[in-house]
């Protein structure tokens, strides 16, 4: 069974037909070719597939595509500005050594974004709590915590950039 949905994806309006049994992860990776979001386990236990839906971090492997109808979705591909300027989180992750093999990185960055959007000045405890659902095997997490704290500082020091969003 298919249905028509429309949703905002990385700031752009998307209208398309989706199959009922598709997950949001499948929609992004297989139908829309946005392979930045990764599948690590398929059962909501690793967080590699994390995307933001209406600003909330969700495991896209357990989110039905049909349920994004009328919502806003942000994937890793939509985080940098259209002109390529990296988001402070991306810059902080890169500069703090928080990326090794990189497979957990998209999900990790988006979970961190959801945290900072809600809590611009988190403690380390709060950072750990927010990232508890994003597994990383390479880094031991410490440089990731530094990166998130670093990004928080950068964001608070920089003028708030609202990347232009097109809405029809």
């Amino acid at each position: 069974m298919a249905r028509r949905i429309s949703f905002l994806l990385n700031g752009e309006l998307v209208e398309m037909e989706v199959e009922d049994h598709w997950t949001l992860l499948h929609l992004l990776r297989e139908e829309l070719g946005l392979t930045g979001t990764k599948e690590g386990c398929g059962s909501g236990e690793c967080g590699a597939c994390t995307v933001l839906v209406d600003g909330m971090a969700v495991n896209s492997c357990l989110f039905l595509a049909a349920d994004v109808d009328g919502k806003e979705v942000l994937t890793i591909e939509g985080l940098a500005a259209p002109d390529g300027t990296l988001h402070p989180l991306q810059r902080a992750f890169i500069e703090n050594g928080a990326i090794q093999c990189g497979f957990c990185t998209p999900g990790m960055i988006l979970s961190a974004k959801a945290l900072l959007d809600e809590n611009p000045n988190p403690t380390e405890e709060e950072i750990r709590h927010a990232l508890a659902g994003n597994l990383c095997r390479c880094t031991g997490y410490l440089q990731i915590f530094r990166a998130v704290a670093d990004a928080a500082r950068r964001i608070s020091q920089e003028p708030i950039e609202v990347f232009p969003r097109r809405t029809d």
Binding site: M1, D20, S43, G44, A57, N59, L62, S111, A132, G133
Partner: protein
């Protein structure tokens, strides 16, 4: 994933009638984080998934100003909403203890308290604090509405009293006196993403003055096929001063009462030890919170 049709009714009656007509081939879906995993693993093969998410009125927290009044939690309230709600943070910290550690933020943003109860997994972190609070549940079905005690809602691992077409709609927390407090702990090998080896929730209501216990509730998870209460341990505490000594004994009795098993996650003897120790610790924490309670 195996194909299914996804139906999104706008009223409860619509949902119920769909499930009634498709029978075994249809399943309700709330957050979906448990259900979709089971479908992916081939453990469930529904042809129809009936969403409860767009039915209005199921995702409110109805707080009436104090714990001395009834509080109602809609079944479709997400764990995250409960985690962030001032109602749980300040007035039902035992619930906050539990929901803030279920899965991850990603899971909690989507998974609902109702879904957690209806899945009836023995570890149910959602269930134990509510069972300790003497919660009741409201059920809506083809034959109308009914209410019952949450403790009796569970029949076995993965099994509840829900009959075909029935939907859990609301959780009702009865009033308690102004000097009450509760605490919950989930014990596991690591600090997050854990299914507990045991879960222990304790609620105490104190007499008007001092540390004497008027009523106590001790709820245990993974200590039996379904969430259980350690009634004998509770009875022991009634009328006594709550302190390390009495809680020690209560823990011992609760451990005896429990029906722990060996499993991949832990041996029975160890679970019994944990019940004994954690009942004491949660009892002390509940006592502390009861004395600080604003009511």
């Amino acid at each position: 994933m195996r194909r299914f049709q996804y139906l999104i009714p706008r009223t409860l009656d619509e949902a119920v009638s769909i499930v009634e007509s498709y029978g075994e081939r249809a399943k309700y879906i709330a957050g979906g984080t448990d259900l979709l995993v089971k479908i992916k693993e081939g453990k469930l093969r529904p042809d129809y998934l009936v969403s409860l998410k767009r039915i209005p009125g199921l995702d409110d927290v109805k707080w009436q100003g104090s714990t001395q009044s009834e509080t109602r939690i809609g079944a479709l309230v997400t764990h995250r909403k409960l985690e962030l709600s001032p109602v749980t943070r300040w007035h039902y910290p035992i619930i906050h203890d539990a929901v803030s550690n279920i899965g991850s933020v990603q899971i909690r943003n989507v998974a609902t308290i109702g879904g957690n109860l209806v899945n009836a997994v023995p570890s149910a972190d959602g269930a134990i604090p509510l069972v300790a609070l003497d919660a009741r549940v409201r059920i809506h079905g083809p034959k109308g509405e009914r209410e019952m005690e949450l403790l009796h809602f569970f029949l076995g691992p993965g099994q509840t009293v829900l009959e075909r077409g029935e939907v859990l709609t609301e959780i009702i927390i009865p009033p308690r006196n102004s000097r009450s407090g509760g605490a919950y702990i989930k014990f596991g090998r690591r600090e997050a993403m854990e299914l507990p080896i045991v879960g222990v929730g304790v609620v105490v209501e104190l007499e008007a003055e001092g540390d004497v216990c008027a009523r106590a509730a001790i709820a245990l998870g993974v200590a039996a096929p379904t969430p259980m209460r350690a009634f004998q341990a509770e009875k022991f505490l009634e009328g006594k001063e709550i302190n390390e000594k009495t809680l020690d004994e209560a823990g011992r009795i609760a451990a005896e009462e429990s029906k722990v098993r060996d499993s991949v996650r832990g041996a029975a003897w160890y679970r019994r030890e944990l019940v004994r120790v954690l009942v004491k610790r949660m009892g002390l924490k509940a006592l502390e919170r009861a004395k600080k309670a604003e009511g």
